[in-house]
Subunit: 96 residues, 5 copies
């Protein structure tokens, strides 16, 4: 799973009826303390009522379809957790 920051939202024209009903959010990978953003933006289906600014976990590939909402839909990334705390080398580096 990637540690990511939710940075925005999308409005789009989608044919798949089940994907249409979901919220597609813009995410960007973050470092282990959630302070630095890395790499390019990507879009993930929200499963946990995440909001812009939240630090989340996204999972990718076929894992993204192991949920009732995304099963058998053309979706390759989902937000599956909102992060509350990150502890690295014994120190709390992120607290919601």
């Amino acid at each position: 799973m990637k540690i990511a920051r939710v940075t925005g939202s999308t409005i789009s024209t989608i044919k798949s009826p089940r994907v249409k009903e979901t919220k597609l959010l813009i995410c960007r990978e973050a470092d282990a303390s959630g302070t630095k953003e890395l790499g390019s933006s990507y879009v993930a289906t929200d499963l946990v009522d995440a909001g812009v600014g939240d630090l989340v976990l996204t999972c990718h590939g076929s894992a993204a379809r192991q949920t009732p909402i995304t099963k058998e839909t053309p979706v390759d990334a989902v937000i599956m957790a909102v992060l509350d705390n990150l502890v690295v080398d014994g120190e709390i580096v992120f607290k919601k």
Copy 2:
């Protein structure tokens, strides 16, 4: 899913009869505002009547085969949405 710009089209000799009937478009990943193109070009099966210049979402891997058109075909990327709006940090950064 990747935010991508459709940049072109392909004509090719394909054996798989079902892939032959689909439109294979050239895409290039874009940043979250759709203004800068990133990385190398790739080819995706069009599911949403996208045109050259459109900003789209592409999904990858086995997700690309979760549609009636691409089911059980050798296809690893599809265009599954045409983007109408992108909102980053509360600002509209892209409007079709």
Copy 3:
């Protein structure tokens, strides 16, 4: 799918009897005009009688096994099309 140039061939000792009967070619990703090679070389099972020098499309991951030849074999990349034309921004950038 990746746009790729076929650059060579391989001879190898393989245990899987069905993979043994296939042609494994060396490919290198190319840019959208097919003139510049990018990244490192990889090996793909040929499904379309491609030859060295051809510009092709390769598909990757589980997509590579959605064909009668590669079904249930340890193969993660196939050549699924020989490119005849590439058109970018309204211009023919590659013609076979």
Copy 4:
């Protein structure tokens, strides 16, 4: 599989009841001697009672769900081994 160092732990709000019961650890890819960390951090489900500081193997993609704990859950990375020894070019480069 990736050679990785476990660097931390996460607390998060997850909807999937089965993922909730697992331990999600922060990992960072390491070189073949386990001394240098590479790339960005990622989060993996612990299957082997790994602890912070351990050098482990993580597996990714659908492979991560080939275990009773992770089967049919939205998980794309697991820690599947704790490394005891790494031998490169005939030399022991890592010993737990």
Copy 5:
């Protein structure tokens, strides 16, 4: 498939009984002539009795489980061929 050099071996504590019985080797991607190593090391299950120093093909993702030895195991990379010859642009660039 990736062209890779086998560089070492691993000893580890694994829970999955079927993975325990396999040989996990350290590999590093190589260029098309097998002379230059590229990128970071990774670990793959050996299916072809490869040894340290051998130039091999590794396959990745769900492809790695399309063999009797790795079926339904948490394994995402296997060595599926030992390379005997590589021919690039009509020249033999590698001979075992």
